[in-house]
Structures are given as structure tokens and as C-alpha cells.
Amino acid sequence: MAAEAKLDPMHQFQLEKLAGADWNIAGYNVAFTNSALWMAIATLALIVFVAGGMKRAVVPGRWQMAVETFTGFIDGMLAANVGKAGKKYVPYIFSLFMFILFANFLGLMPLGVVGVHAFTFTSHFSATGVLAVLSFGIVLIVGFAKHGLHFFSLFVPHGTPVAMIPIIFVVELISFLVRPFSLGLRLFVAMMAGHVLLEVLSSFVISGGNAGPALFVIAGLPSFVLMVGICALELLVAGIQAYVFALLTCVYLNDAENLH
């Protein structure tokens, strides 16, 4: 493959069946893929992280402090956006936020140095879409269970003139229905775009180095420096996207809990 100088930036998102290529349920293959493997790793890392901080010491150590900072952060976010009723969603939002955060960060780990190929499963819409539908489903269930059909008043804000109600209702309904798509799409595209960018920049470094020392200095080195900067930016994006996902879920839950 050394002669193949052209890099395929989409190859990193390819799913590979690690086990059970012939596990079929109702005609669909349910093989254990590298995506599933990294989901399991993220879950395991999350469990280890939280279990390490569950000591309930009166004077917390560093680890417990780290876990408590995160739970406190989620608790504060729900208190600010949903109010008192938000307390019962802390476990869900915490799991959601930490799972996405761990997934994003695990995908950015330089594990290729030791020969392990990290896979960012949040760069697949099938993964982020399910998380988004889960959030949206909770909003629907809570909204209808708590307010019944009164939940539809969400689509008619207070003080809307009667003549405007049919138009406003349709607009609000559409903006409500695209929420799961925008929620899942944002995370998936942000992660995919970042990884494609890193791959393209790394291909500049490699083909610049293959093309001789002059081109390496002109194109390879600046690309490498830029890549280090973009890596730092990607770490920021990974955190922000997890935060935005959790924050928007809180905002939607607020709609379900308190209407307008």
C-alpha cells in the first residue's frame, strides 16, 4: 500500500465487523462492529471514572472532586434551565453528557501511535440519531404524561392573535419536529468534519514529505503545525458539542415540564 499515496479521508468512518458477521435478526445483520466496540469502551471508561469517585469521603480526593464537578455541573445546568422539576433528569443528562464526551475524546486519542485505531462512533448519524430520538422521546413522554393534550398549547405561544394561530401552529410544529434531526445532525457533522479535516491535513504532511525535502519544508511542516492547532480546536469542539447536546436536551425538557 506504500505506492498508494492518495489518502481516502472517509475510510476512517468505515464499519468493520469484528465478530458475528452471520448474526442476523429478522434479515438485519447485528454483527459486533468496531463502532460497538468503542461504545463498549466508552461505557466501560465512564463506569470506571464514576465508580472511582463514589467514595463519598467528607474531604474529597482529586478523583472524587473530578466526578463531583461533573455531577454538580449537570445539576446546575438542569436547575438553571428546567428549575426544581429538573432534579429527576440529572441521571439521564449526566449519562448522556458523559457518554458523548468520552466518545468524542476517545476518538481523538492518539492511539494510532501504539497501533490501535480509535473509532469515533459519534461521527455516525445512526449513533447520534438514536441518542437524539431518545431525548426527543423522553420529551414527548414527559410532556403528554404531565399535561395530556394540553401539551399542544406548546405550539401556540401566549398572546398569539387568533388570525395568526393557524400559521404559528404550523411553524412551531415544524420547529418542534426537526429537533431530533438537528440534535443528532449537529453532533454527527461536527465530529465527522473535524476528523475529515485532520485526515486531509495529515495527507498534506505525508505527501509533502514523500515529495522531497523542499516541499516538506514548504507544505509539510506548516500543515503539521496547523494540525497540532486543529487538534486543540477539536478537543474544544468535542467538549462544546457534548455540552450543547446536553444543554439543548435540558431546554427541550423545560418545554415538556413547564410548557411556555
Binding site: 438537528s182 445532525l185 449537529r186 461536527a190 444543554l247 431546554v251
Partner: protein, 74 residues
């Protein structure tokens, strides 16, 4: 112009949307900083709204990326 060339051109044009969204994202943070420096006491409480605005502006830029990706790969 054959269809493949038109697709690639369209993907290039979609990059304009990403550039415009960057103006939007810049605006969100610039206006927040402007307001936050005038009244630092109220800044922390508004951070959630800052990120909601950021998410909205960013999503529209990412949509143009999706369109470009669809044109090239689908």
C-alpha cells in the same frame, strides 16, 4: 457541463454557506463578549443562552457541509 462537474461545483458553492456561518458564530461570541464586558456580573448566568445561539448558528453552517458531502459522496 456534465453532471459530475456540476455536482463538484455545487459542493464548492456549498462551502460559501460554511463561511457565512463562521461570520454568524463569530457574531454570537463577539456580541456576548461585548455585553459581558459591560456587565460582567450578569455574564455567567447567560452562558447557556450563548451556547444555544452558537448551536443554532453552527447548525446552519454544518448543513451546508452536509449538502456538500451529499453532492460528492451520494
Amino acid at each position: 457541463m456534465d453532471a459530475e462537474a456540476a455536482k463538484l461545483l455545487g459542493a464548492g458553492f456549498a462551502a460559501i454557506g460554511a463561511g457565512l456561518a463562521s461570520i454568524g458564530v463569530g457574531n454570537v461570541f463577539a456580541k456576548f463578549l461585548e455585553g459581558a464586558l459591560r456587565n460582567p456580573g450578569a455574564a455567567d448566568a447567560q452562558q447557556g443562552r450563548l451556547f444555544i445561539g452558537f448551536a443554532g448558528a453552527e447548525l446552519l453552517g454544518l448543513l451546508s457541509f452536509v449538502i456538500a458531502a451529499l453532492l460528492i459522496f451520494a
